[in-house]
């Protein structure tokens, strides 16, 4: 049975698109037929992160309006056979999204044999964000370890519990997963940042992983490659762990402990 996953946060700039790109890639690398959809109409960036911005012909709005079909709009990922990208429109705005249109797109994707559909939500709590979460079965709540991100995540959780189809129809609720991103154990140690445990205690949903802060992410988006592809990167490993845990495999939590570098390292550079 296909699962629809929404990657959302409320707050902007926390790592939703980075996460959507890496999670969908991770699932596809495991052999599942995966689609990732950009719901940020008018401010699209999933295509940039995935490296397919020059191959966009049709987009989500074209499909919703019936101006193109899914086969024409879906872009096959250059790194991964099982992965397809449905970009957002850049010239229109979110009013072009309709609930019936989105529902039809998701149903058609399921009929086409997709195992997972990842919905990359825009920031905020308005139409685009609500459309992205309406049909979700799972939700990844991406949260930075700081107070305003935590509050916004709490808000979006409330909206998920009241505006998702599962909530409205009284079915089993959307399964919530906390993903703490841009984590710096040193700053937690110094008291500048909340620890992942604090975040989990405040939001009270199960933790699916912690992604460390890293320059690799910027590098990856400049290259148009999802971060999970990078070799020797903590971020890539962390995302692989997240995908594994989502698929019910056990993985110990990494990249959360601060190790003070030895004297030599501190003298000659290093964090």
């Amino acid at each position: 049975m296909a699962r629809v996953i929404v990657v959302t946060s409320g707050k902007g700039g926390v790592g939703k698109t980075t996460t959507s790109a890496s999670i969908s890639t991770g699932l596809a690398l495991r052999g599942f037929k995966t689609a990732v959809i950009d719901f940020d109409v008018g401010l699209r960036n999933l295509d940039l992160i995935m490296g397919c911005e020059r191959r966009v012909v049709y987009d989500l709005i074209n499909v919703v309006n019936g101006e193109a079909n899914l086969n024409q709009a879906l872009i096959k990922d250059k790194h991964c056979d099982n992965l397809f990208v449905l970009p957002a429109s850049q010239t229109r705005d979110k009013d072009a999204l309709t609930e019936e249109g989105v529902e039809k797109v998701l149903k058609d994707l399921v009929h086409m044999g997709f195992d997972y559909v990842v919905c990359d939500s825009p920031a905020g709590i308005e139409r685009g964000a609500v459309m992205a979460l309406t049909f979700a079965d799972d939700a990844f709540i991406v949260t930075n370890p700081e107070v305003s991100s935590v509050r916004d995540s709490d808000r979006i959780l409330g909206i998920l519990q009241s505006k998702s189809r599962r909530a409205i129809e009284g079915r089993e609720p959307v399964k919530e997963h906390l993903l703490v991103s841009r984590y710096s154990p040193k700053r937690v140690e110094d008291g500048e940042m909340l620890s992942y445990k604090d975040v989990q205690e405040l939001l009270r949903i199960p933790l699916i992983g912690v992604i460390p802060e890293s320059d690799d992410v910027l590098q990856a988006s400049n290259q148009g490659t999802p971060a999970i592809h990078l070799k020797d990167s903590d971020v890539a490993t962390a995302y692989q762990d997240v995908v594994a845990r989502y698929l019910d495999e056990e993985r110990p939590l990494r990249f959360v402990a601060y190790e003070k570098p030895g004297l030599l390292k501190r003298l000659f550079g290093g964090k």
Binding site: D154, R155, G158, I159, Q161, S162, R204
Partner: protein, 274 residues
């Protein structure tokens, strides 16, 4: 041809209980009643918000020849009271009430009447002054205004407790109308809980909690992990700009009103946990 057995299912009649308010009328003259209602509720015309009411005539000073039911019903509806029936009406007036569409109840049909405390404040608007706060409206004491007819309001029986078993998230709001509220999983900052009765919060109390929303000064707020943004009982409220007092922060605590009618203050006391 419609199947006769299927047709029976189009309406089903079942027994149920209703929490209802009674309005005791000492007069049936619509003009005098209008004056009395205006004195009592003029500043809060929406106080009743469409609540159903049984009109009780046991206290009628003198039984008139006839009653202008249309005038009385439209007057009550203007104050958002929905009359649904009458009781203890003099025999000769019953037919008129029936024709006006009111149910005629026997005197033993209703039970559990209780007097209402003075309504002090509307659910949504705490007074702009922090504790101690004056009651914005005082209904005229029934004794003082000589034979002036005053519909005496009796409180509706308490509604069942509203129980919320998921964490209340920022931006969400819950209102327990006519009764108590129990939160089993706490509330986040930025959320709001309102109850006409008391509030019992198991889990972190982190948002705004307003108990006794219709003026019940005996309402209290109980919490196992005290840390709200604002607490209020019957409109008397307090915020915590300078932080939660150490004696109660993060602990089991209760909030209640002390003092007399004119000078209420909020007290917050730690509770002993075993």
């Amino acid at each position: 041809m419609a199947d006769a057995s299927l047709q029976g299912k189009l309406i089903e009649f079942k027994g149920a209980s209703l929490a209802v308010m009674t309005a005791s009328l000492r007069d049936t003259d619509a003009v005098r009643l209008a004056d009395a209602l205006h004195m009592m509720l003029g500043g809060m015309p929406d106080f009743f918000a469409g609540e159903p009411a049984i009109l009780d005539f046991a206290q009628l000073a003198s039984a008139p020849e006839r009653v202008d039911w249309t005038a009385i019903l439209s007057l009550l509806r203007r104050y958002q009271v929905q009359p649904i029936g009458v009781r203890r009406l003099p025999e000769h007036l019953v037919e008129g009430a029936r024709r006006a569409g009111l149910a005629v109840l026997g005197s033993s049909d209703l039970s559990g009447e209780r007097p209402l405390g003075a309504p002090q404040v509307m659910p949504q608007t705490p007074p702009p002054v922090a504790a101690p706060a004056p009651a914005p409206v005082e209904p005229p004491p029934a004794a003082a205004a000589a034979p002036a007819p005053a519909p005496e309001l009796e409180q509706a029986p308490v509604a069942p407790t509203l129980i919320v078993d998921r964490p209340l998230r920022s931006g969400q709001q819950v209102y327990a109308k006519g009764g108590d509220l129990v939160l089993l999983a706490g509330m986040s900052p930025g959320s709001e809980i309102i109850a006409d009765g008391s509030i019992h919060c198991y889990g972190p109390l982190r948002g705004r909690a307003l108990a006794g929303a219709r003026g019940d000064t005996s309402a209290r707020i109980f919490s196992t992990n005290f840390g709200p943004e604002l607490v209020s009982i019957a409109g008397v409220y307090r915020t915590f700009e300078r932080g939660i007092p150490q004696s109660v922060g993060g602990r089991s605590a209760q909030v209640r009103l002390t003092g007399t009618d004119n000078l209420h203050t909020l007290e917050i006391i730690a509770l002993q946990s075993s």
